[in-house]
Symmetry: C2
Subunit: 84 residues, 2 copies
């Protein structure tokens, strides 16, 4: 699966993932192991280079012990209303 | 993009989309128009047949005037911890 374009909302989501990961003292490899994803995928997502799916958002939230809303709330105001 | 397997967490997400849509008095077509997605996609998502991406979760939340957390919170406890 290819890396995707950075956008402000993907970057903001990635920054929240990174912040929650560091708050739990996890490395990218440790988080990847905990949620069954590839370390490269975690790095891409933290840089905002992935349009992460529902399944993986839920896996990341569970592994980071945060509500999904802590990762997403407010970002809905940063996305263009319509698909470009 | 093909329809995807139903899972309990995708079905629960879809049910919340439907509930929020009906609470706003929107048809699937009306919601689709508001967020720039295809009506068929909305129907698939409401039946739990889509692994909806971050971008589209945010578009749906914005169009439905709910926080993304209202659509996702709690579902992280329904997904298997690791990719099967």
């Amino acid at each position: 699966m290819a890396v995707q374009a950075r956008t402000p909302w993907r970057e903001a989501f990635g920054a929240r993932i990174r912040s929650a990961r560091l708050a739990r003292g996890l490395t990218q490899e440790g988080l990847a192991e905990t949620c069954g994803l590839h370390p490269t995928y975690i790095g891409d997502a933290e840089r905002g280079e992935r349009n992460v799916s529902l399944d993986n958002i839920l896996r990341l939230a569970y592994a980071l012990k945060v509500r999904p809303g802590e990762l997403l709330d407010g970002l809905e105001r940063r996305i263009p209303k319509k698909v470009p």
